[in-house]
């Protein structure tokens, strides 16, 4: 790069640029820092508005409470179960779809029918109530499978992997066939090893999806113990104050305005931690996978 002397206006621009960018970045961090600070502050300090980016009245009470909150950890367990079952199921299904559909029409003439099928799935959705109806009639309510089967075949990921498979030169397959390999062997010995980045991508898609999913956990569960993490968080985040029976004055007296912001904050923060741990991989594979899989032509 030429070391052309920078003009004054260029310098000015660069400074302003850095400032703007830094400001934007800070805006990303501030809410999360605030969350962290709130989780480590005492209720009193929060009521008195003394918490901004740093905790006031440092207190571990909120985290103590969370550690004891059975429902929270229950839901974490459910989410882990869901991820451990759901992600492999997803990856399997995606591979099952992507591989045949990645073959050209010559090699797989029936391809176009399946493509039409997948297109239909992509375009239409039955809606919340009818889907619930089917899920309940197939006896999945309150089981971990209600969180896995309806979403077992994510069409978008299929496209990503399919396009990746397509990128693998046909000659590899041809020569393998000449050596007498059947499709299963070709898939397992050639395609899969070469597709590691793409598989990593779809795995991460699936992981994030299962981790963040909340609506299905809510409506398909009959017991709060079956709520996955995000569903549980949802009930906590949007909890509404109760209106009290007037003749039960004692209950009215009981209503306290204990500020539970720090409790909520602690639970939310803990939920973010796993994401942060996996974050470096997410960063690496997400965009890569997308650019690999989408824009063509």
């Amino acid at each position: 790069m030429d070391k052309i002397k920078k003009s004054k206006s260029r310098v000015l621009f660069e400074v302003v640029n850095y400032v703007i960018i830094a400001a934007v970045v800070i805006s990303c961090i501030v809410p999360i820092l605030n969350l962290l600070a709130l989780s480590f502050s005492s209720s009193q300090a929060i009521i008195e508005n003394r918490v901004s980016l740093l905790p006031a009245d440092f207190s571990l009470k909120a985290y103590e409470y969370v550690l004891k909150k059975q429902e929270f950890w229950n839901s974490v367990l459910v989410t882990f179960k869901r991820v451990l079952l759901g992600v492999p199921v997803n990856v399997l299904m995606i591979t099952l779809v992507a591989y045949p559909l990645s073959k050209s029409e010559r090699l797989f003439p029936a391809r176009k029918y399946y493509v039409a099928y997948m297109l239909t799935v992509m375009l239409f959705s039955g809606g919340l109530m009818p889907t619930y109806f089917v899920v309940s009639k197939t006896n999945l309510i309150d089981t971990i499978w209600s969180l896995i089967l309806p979403g077992a075949v994510p069409v978008f990921s299929c496209i990503v992997l399919m396009n990746f498979f397509r990128g693998i030169p046909e000659e590899l397959e041809e020569s393998a066939k000449l050596d007498g390999a059947n499709q299963l062997q070709i898939l397992v010995k050639i395609f899969l090893p070469l597709s590691k980045p793409s598989i990593a991508t779809i795995t991460l898609f699936s992981l994030i999806n299962h981790w963040n999913s909340w609506l299905d956990g809510l409506i398909y569960s009959n017991y709060t113990t079956n709520y996955p993490l995000q569903s549980y968080l949802q009930t906590m985040v949007t909890s509404v104050a109760e209106v009290v029976n007037t003749s039960d004055l004692q209950a009215l007296m009981e209503r306290n305005s204990i500020n539970n912001t720090n409790l909520k904050a602690a639970q939310i923060f803990i939920s973010i931690i796993p994401l942060m741990i996996v974050y470096p991989w997410l960063q690496k594979y997400f965009t890569k996978g997308l650019t690999l899989g989408s824009v063509k032509g």
Binding site: E242, V244, S247
Partner: protein, 574 residues
């Protein structure tokens, strides 16, 4: 659609009971020989249970941090054990978060497997009846209702029972609250009045002056301009809750009412909406507008909700607020903790028309309806559960029994765990009459167990007050403060209610059924328009714009609502 919030019940647990497979070995349950029915009068029928165990399915929807007392749980608490004793075996169908109760019930109904007994909101009730979800209990009621239950259902003159009748058949048991607890009263800082040597305002003009004085004349004597007159609930307008603006309009004989659709009998004997009294409404709006301009009404009242009203009063910022009978409780507790000279008193809404006294509107206070599933083979289980409830809560045999079934916040979770909870109507008024008499005379022989325990708390508080040190952290003392404010203070809430009753200043609502489908459809829009207009006028628009609003109100469905109400009134001889 949200419905009348008068005396809304806390539903920390909304139950559903479902009789899926009420197999009792082929015998018809509840007829034939029974053992140990708890001594009621109707002969051989078992009004409280069955001879053979009957399984019922239950659905719960509890808040995130619902607290069980005494180590109880869904499967082990006083009520569940009571039911089991009577051969009614609850079996849990679902147990979800409170926020999901409607959704869960809805999806459960859709999949055909739902609790048989469940509670519904009054406005939804008719649709449950009409879509065949709720079952007909007319016959079961006739056959199995205990005398106490019958008395309960008759306690409001039959208004509530009418509201659960669809096409001549009864489809649910109404939860009848206390109408008196919906009447808006004025709460005021008596100590401020005393300090400024003002009398309790009896007219709206006097109220205006007092509000002004509270704002500008330093009523708390601390040298700072940190007080103001009136606090108003700007978030939940027309919900007849704490701080509701309805009170102001009532002073001028206008009754827009709960959810903006209260019906009254007009001067011409016809049913009309309480807000069609344009003159009255405008007078009320002008009053509020003046206060707003003057600064005696908090400029940010729009951000204040029910909680905030408590806060404003309890922190000593505002001196006047309107609310139902329990509106003085929390502020009293908060203030007395630091200042024993504080005195919150209550009075009926001041008179705006110099007619000798404002009138308060009594509305039918049904806060919910318990229904039994149409698919259930034993609809009478609903009646039996109700009988049990009325028996244990309404006439407990001992204080211990009362605590067991009502709850005592220490050992028993109480009514929150019961499958069906009916409030004892007008209990509070009865409490007031008996307790204030007992306090004065010293004779507690007429009191029931609940009243005795409340009186004990009140006495403890009064003693502490005499002694000059009030420890508001002590639950007995703070309980005493609340109860005193409501029941025993000669200038307390129920004293004000009593005055209204004595002086015949209560008028009945003209329409007592639940909202019809058309009303429901339109009520949200109508209420929204009403609320917006009210807020706009208070904060500056011309008072006369109310007339324009009224025209729109009629056109947007108000006219048909009035017509339907009139039809109902005519059909029922009101």
């Amino acid at each position: 659609m949200r419905t009348k919030r008068a005396a809304v019940l806390t539903m920390a647990a909304i139950m559903g009971i479902s009789l899926v497979g009420c197999q009792t070995g082929g015998t018809t349950p509840a007829s034939g020989t029974e053992t140990g029915s708890t001594g009621e009068t109707s002969g051989e029928k078992n009004l409280f249970g069955y001879d053979e165990p009957v399984t019922i399915k239950v659905g719960y929807a509890v808040v995130n941090d619902f607290e069980w007392y005494g180590g109880e749980s869904f499967t082990d608490n006083t009520w569940v054990n009571l039911y089991k004793e009577h051969n009614i075996i609850p079996e849990i169908l679902y147990e979800v978060d409170r926020s999901q109760w409607e959704t869960k019930l809805s999806t459960a109904i859709m999949s055909g497997n739902y609790p048989d007994v469940f509670k519904v909101k009054p406005n939804d009730f008719v649709s449950y009846a009409n879509t065949g979800v709720a079952g007909d209990i007319t016959a079961a009621l006739e056959e199995y209702a205990s005398d106490e239950l019958k008395a309960y259902l008759a306690s409001d003159g039959g208004m509530a029972l009418q509201s659960v009748t669809v096409d001549g058949k009864i489809y649910g048991l109404p939860v009848i609250g206390s109408s008196y607890d919906t009447v808006p009263l004025m709460f005021i800082r008596q100590d401020w009045l005393d300090k400024l040597e003002l009398d309790m305002p009896e007219t709206m003009e006097e109220l205006k002056a007092v509000a002004h004085a509270f704002t500008y004349d330093d009523p708390d004597g601390n040298g700072k301009a940190d007080t103001y007159g009136l606090a108003l609930n700007g978030v939940d307008i027309l919900n007849s809750g704490n701080g509701d603006v309805n009170a102001i309009f009532n002073a001028y004989n206008a009754y827009p009412g709960n959810d903006g659709l209260s019906m009254v009998t007009g001067a011409d004997g016809k049913v009309t909406w309480g807000g069609t009294n344009a003159e009255g409404m405008k007078a009320g709006l002008a009053f509020l507008q003046d206060l707003y301009q003057d600064g005696a009404l908090a400029k940010d009242f729009i951000t204040m909700d029910s909680e905030a009203i408590f806060e404003e009063a309890g922190s000593g910022r505002c001196g006047i607020w309107f609310g139902p009978t329990w509106g003085g409780m929390n502020p009293a507790k908060d203030l007395l903790a630091s200042n024993p000279d504080v005195h919150i008193t209550s009075a009926p809404v001041p008179d705006g028309l110099n007619q000798g006294g404002s009138k308060a509107l009594l509305i039918s206070a049904v806060s919910g309806v318990y229904c039994v599933s149409a698919m259930c083979e034993n609809p009478e289980v609903l009646i039996k559960l109700a009988n049990l409830n009325v028996d244990k809560i309404g006439s407990p045999d001992s204080e211990e029994e009362y605590n067991m079934y009502f709850g005592d916040y220490a050992n028993y979770s109480g009514w929150k765990a019961s499958l069906l909870h009916l409030e004892v109507p007008n209990k509070n008024y009865d409490n007031y009459l008996k307790m204030s008499a007992a306090l004065e005379s010293g004779d507690s022989s007429q009191l029931n167990t609940e009243q005795i325990s409340k009186l004990a708390m009140i006495t403890a508080y009064l003693d502490a007050h005499e002694a000059g040190s009030i420890d508001a952290a002590d639950t007995t003392i703070s309980g005493g403060i609340s109860n005193y404010t409501i029941f025993c203070d000669p200038q307390g809430s129920y004293a004000a209610i009593h005055r209204l009753v004595q002086e015949d200043r209560l008028i009945n609502s003209a329409y007592n059924a639940f909202q019809t489908a058309t009303m429901s459809e339109n009520s949200a829009t109508l209420k929204k328009l009403t609320v917006e207009t009210i807020v706009k006028i208070i904060t500056g628009d011309s008072v006369d714009s109310y007339d324009t609003f009224l025209n729109s109100w009629y056109a947007l469905g108000g006219e048909s609502a009035i017509a339907e109400a009139q039809e109902w009134a005519d059909a029922n001889g009101y």
